[in-house]
């Protein structure tokens, strides 16, 4: 459980986080979304006690991070895969971290196995690829077997196989009842992983909602291509849908794809295509954050 309440964080004149409140619940994967510079990383840094907020609070399990005696047993975090000393081996790096929180040495081997770095455990980190470093960072986050996990842009630099591995891992962690917060600036990525999304822009909360609700909100009808478009249009209209011609097909709203299929079958009309359409999540995300984009390219008129 992570609770962020009325959090405000300033860097000089710039307002990085502006009266932000949200909660991250256990058992689900929460996506933390926003364009670059929206304040995601800052918020996570505040949660981890790396920054002190100007006002508001960020609590983990009801307590400020800084007051945790052995924080790694309660919170695991991957903030920056580069935050390691290249001169140490993966195992030594993890062992140093583990020891600082009283975690046994055996756990180091376990997490290395878990992230797939067991074979390179004794190699210096300096020789690791970005993907390997991400896995190492995740291993560090898992060391204390914590109930709360935070990953800042975890898929950066991972190959498709790695990306899938991360998704499955987060899914698994959430299914074990843990609180999982994953930040990203790519909505599409989140669509496949997150059960819940928190979207922020310019440090302010934009949406805090379950993923299906977000999908629902941006529903755009069903595209149908049929051998007899006119006949089908009449049938659908008769069932209460509104239909307009579009690009040689029919754009149908008011009926879902399953019902359309049943009606077409009933009339013996062959369907060539039946595609439920929503605004892509990317589009939805762009829409949501449009006003808050700080570093967006100048818009065409």
């Amino acid at each position: 459980m992570i609770e962020v309440t009325a959090l405000t964080m300033r860097y000089g004149d710039a307002l990085a986080v502006d009266d932000l409140s949200f909660a991250v619940k256990p058992g689900v994967v929460t996506g933390f979304l926003g364009p670059n510079g929206a304040g995601k990383s800052t918020t996570m840094r505040v949660i981890l006690g790396l920054e002190a907020p100007d006002s508001g609070s960020a609590l983990v399990g009801g307590r400020p991070y800084g007051s945790l005696k052995k924080p790694m047993l309660e919170v695991g975090a991957l903030l920056d895969a580069g935050a390691v000393h290249g001169g140490r081996s993966a195992a030594a790096h993890l062992w140093c971290l583990a020891r600082s929180n009283g975690i046994g040495r055996g756990r180091v081997g376990e997490v290395l196995e878990l992230v797939g770095l067991a074979d390179v455990a004794d190699r210096r980190i300096a020789g690791f690829s970005l993907g390997m470093r991400q896995r190492l960072g995740i291993a560090a986050a898992l060391l204390g077997d914590p109930g709360v996990l935070m990953f800042d842009e975890p898929v950066n630099g991972l190959d498709p196989e790695g990306i899938r591995w991360i998704r499955e891992l987060m899914r698994l962690l959430a299914d074990e009842g843990r609180t999982v917060l994953v930040s990203s600036h790519l909505m599409g990525e989140m669509a496949l992983t997150a059960d819940h999304v928190v979207v922020i822009g310019r440090g302010r909360l934009i949406v805090d909602t379950p993923m299906p609700d977000l999908v629902e909100r941006f529903q755009r009808g069903v595209l149908v291509r049929a051998a007899a478009p006119r006949a089908l249009a009449d049938v659908l209209r008769a069932s209460g849908a509104s239909v307009r011609e579009e690009d040689g097909g029919l754009s149908v709203t008011g009926l879902d794809a399953a019902r359309i299929g049943e009606l077409a079958l009933g009339r013996g009309i062959a369907l060539r295509e039946l595609t439920p359409r929503s605004a892509s999540l990317e589009e939805a995300f762009m829409e949501l954050t449009e006003e808050s984009v700080q570093f967006g390219a100048g818009r065409a008129a």
Binding site: L50, C96, L97, R99, S100
Partner: protein, 743 residues
């Protein structure tokens, strides 16, 4: 916290670069070896006195230590700057969110590693230096130090331990700086500034500001903590406090900075207070309030002042006289050890004149001491008694019977009374005991610190008297060519006769081989014995006068020339001796009379009343006619060539009007530090006998002629004396100084 500490130990251990850095610190040992090798090469090409001019390598860390300090400081700095450079700091702070705890958790591992490495390094540097020096290590140098120093030398082990223990402190400074600055390069530059650049820059500041500021520099502090031969400016406790203040300040600054960055500023009051406390210790004055004597510049480096003393010490509140004192103030930047008090000889010499003439010989001693001296109350030209009275006296004859003895007594008394009537109270109080009490009054006026005495010739009697009367005021006693006031008279007599006989044998040997000797080819001993024996029966006239020389007169006049041949290789005094003896054998003693007259304005050597005024009250004279006879007989037995010569001083006291107030008495040996003596061929036995009264004392024997070694600038003797006076280290018994090689 323990978890964090262990984790930091793992961090330190798991980086190979740290191991390389520690290995690099071995360079400091190599530097010591290299520098020492160069010193040894230079040393071996030098001879004699030039070797005394080398600078001591001390315990042998000098050149490598700063390098070792830098490596340890770098290790400390890197332990945090490398986290900043790599970004690991973010991971670390997530694991250990309490920032100051995170910083302080680094201390134990870092301290342990650098302490062990530091001690290994300093002992490595020491042993390597000692190994390269070999037996040159014990060479005593002009400043009293030795070229090297072994573990058995006082303060060396402690000094090494302290230098090694300073390594973790430097590492802490590095850690604090690294935390403050965050950048590796910046921290290393700051370390270089603190350890290397600033100490060099302050050296260029004028005296005494430069050395004073220099003494506060971290790299210069460990040396000042141990009271070994590396004495500093600060007191040991102040140096220790300051050395600890450096890491406390640096870590406090670092801890504040790291907390401020997390916006969790908690003022580190403890650190601030500790630092303030430690630094304030250095403000405690290292010595007691300075004495209030109004010193005035008087000649060259000399400063002069005056001290009032009672004429008669048995009446302290009675009449006072003023004694001039002078000092060559300490010049060194080192912590002052105290005062060396130079006691002049004579009796009748002025210590101030000695310092005017020979002050240059005290250059090294002045690095640690004020050199103070005085014009003793018995100085011949002090003026209370007219100079002409003190500088002259009756001619002494050797009594042949009791009647003649009594007649001599009457003559002596008549002469003495001529002087005494000018100021009887003063005249009767010219003994060395009164002089010693004057020194004690001067010591009080100087502030009451213990004195280190440097006594020349008859000053040895004053010094032993002082040591007997004021044993608690004595730090060290160095007696140079001093007279033994304490030995059994018969033993003393034999020592004196053996000395002059030995010298006469050397003169004879020289004469056999030198064309400059007027008696060459003849048996000098036989000629001399013939002359003196004949003259005792029938005195040899001084042509053109009524004066004639007895054998005794010849001996008294010749003895100074025999004892002091003058500079090698000409030995002008021996040449003169041979010339005037040759002339006397031919029946004319005017050669003797001429040079005696040049020095004394009379044709025979007079018994100087100024000198007698001290000799006689110090108990130089005979107890009785019987003792005179016994000593006379012993002289015949001891000395074929100079029998009777040693009667001259005591015979001057026969009939002396003032009582013996300072007779010889044994020293309270158990209350005194061992003495050092130094003497030439003719002085050494006497000096050795004089210092033998205090167990553990030692001597330096100079393998040559002369009288007085420190004031005449004998470098080898000065080295040993400086070592004794400065560090209280005595040369081993049997130490010999050879004459300087002729340029």
């Amino acid at each position: 916290m323990l978890d964090a500490i262990v984790a930091e130990w793992l961090k330190l251990r798991s980086l190979r670069s740290n191991l390389y850095l520690l290995a690099f610190s071995a360079l400091s040992v190599l530097i010591c070896a290299g520098v020492t090798f160069m010193v040894v090469r230079g040393f071996d090409t030098q001879l004699g006195d030039n070797r005394l001019r080398f600078t001591s390598l001390g315990a042998g860390m000098g050149n490598g230590l700063p390098v070792a300090y830098f490596v340890m400081g770098a290790l400390g700095a890197l332990s945090i700057t490398s986290e900043h450079a790599t970004g690991l700091i973010r991971t670390s702070l997530v694991a250990v969110p309490r920032r100051q705890a995170f910083l302080f958790a680094k201390i134990p591992a870092l301290a342990a590693v650098t302490l062990v490495a530091g001690e290994v390094l300093v002992f490595g540097m020491h042993f390597v230096t000692q190994a390269v020096l070999g037996d040159r290590s014990g060479q005593v140098l002009i400043d009293g130090r030795t070229l090297g120093a072994s573990l058995t030398d006082p303060g060396v082990v402690a000094g090494l331990l302290v230098a090694g223990a300073a390594m973790p402190l430097v590492a802490m400074v590095g850690l604090g700086l690294g935390t403050l600055i965050r950048s590796t390069a910046g921290s290393l530059v700051a370390l270089i500034m603190i350890l290397f650049v600033l100490p060099i820059v302050v050296q260029t500041l004028p005296q005494p500001t430069g050395p004073q500021i220099g003494s506060f520099m971290m790299a210069n502090l460990p040396d000042q903590i141990v009271a070994g031969e590396e004495s500093g400016i600060l007191s040991p406790i102040a140096a220790l406090a300051l050395l600890l203040a450096y890491p406390v300040v640096a870590l406090t600054a670092g801890a504040v900075a790291i907390a401020v960055r997390g916006r969790g500023l908690r003022p580190l009051l403890v650190g601030g207070l500790m630092a303030a406390l430690l630094v304030s210790v250095t403000a405690i004055p290292s010595s007691a309030a300075a004495a209030t004597l109004p010193w005035k510049a008087c000649e060259g480096d000399l400063e002069c002042a005056a001290v009032q003393v009672p004429v008669d010490w048995s009446k302290p509140s009675g009449r006072k006289i003023s004694l001039r004192i002078a000092r060559l103030p300490a010049t060194g930047t080192h912590r002052k050890i105290g005062t060396v008090f130079a006691v002049p000889g004579g009796p009748g010499g002025s210590g101030i004149d000695d310092l005017k003439k020979s002050g240059g010989n005290f250059t090294q001693l002045r690095q640690h001491f004020d050199v103070v001296t005085f014009e003793p109350r018995n100085t011949t030209d002090l003026g209370v008694i007219p100079f002409d009275c003190f500088a002259t006296g009756p001619w002494i004859t050797v009594p042949g019977n009791r009647t003649e003895y009594d007649r001599l007594a009457a003559k002596n008394r008549k002469y003495a009374e001529q002087c005494r009537k000018a100021d009887p109270e003063y005249f009767d109080n010219l003994d060395s005991g009164s002089v010693a009490r004057d020194i004690e009054a001067i010591r009080d006026a100087l502030g009451g610190e213990k004195l280190s005495l440097l006594a020349t010739s008859y000053g040895g009697v004053v010094a032993t008297t002082y040591a007997r009367l004021f044993s608690g005021s004595v730090r060290a006693v160095y007696i140079d060519g001093g007279v033994d006031h304490l030995a059994d008279p018969a033993i003393h007599l034999r020592i004196r006769y053996e000395a002059i006989e030995g010298q006469f044998a050397r003169l004879s040997a020289w004469c056999e081989s030198s064309d400059a000797c007027a008696l060459r080819g003849r048996d000098v001993g036989a000629v001399w014995r013939g002359l003196t024996a004949a003259a005792d029966r029938s005195p040899v006239p001084v042509k053109g006068t009524q004066v004639a020389y007895s054998g005794f007169d010849f001996k008294v006049a010749a003895a100074p020339d025999v004892i002091s041949p003058g500079p090698a290789p000409d030995f002008p005094n021996w040449q003169r001796f041979a010339r005037v003896v040759d002339q006397a054998v031919k029946g004319d003693a005017s050669g003797f009379a001429d040079f005696v007259e040049q020095a004394t304005k009379t044709k025979k050597v007079p018994s100087f009343r100024g000198m007698d005024a001290t000799h006689c009250t110090d108990g130089t004279g005979f107890d009785s006619y019987e003792e005179f006879q016994r000593m006379k007989a012993l002289g015949q037995q001891f000395s074929p060539n100079f029998a009777g010569n040693e009667l001259w001083h005591p015979l001057g006291c026969v009939g002396w009007p003032a009582p013996v107030t300072n007779p010889p008495k044994p020293l309270p040996a158990d209350q005194l530090p061992p003495f050092l003596g130094a003497g030439t061929w003719t002085d050494h036995a006497d000096v050795a006998s004089a210092v033998s009264g205090v167990p553990g004392s030692s001597t330096v024997r100079y393998n040559g002629s002369g009288h007085g070694l420190y004031l005449t600038g004998n470098q080898c003797t000065i080295s040993h004396a400086n070592r004794y006076l400065t560090f209280l280290r005595l040369p081993p018994k049997g130490t010999v100084c050879e004459p300087p090689t002729v340029k």
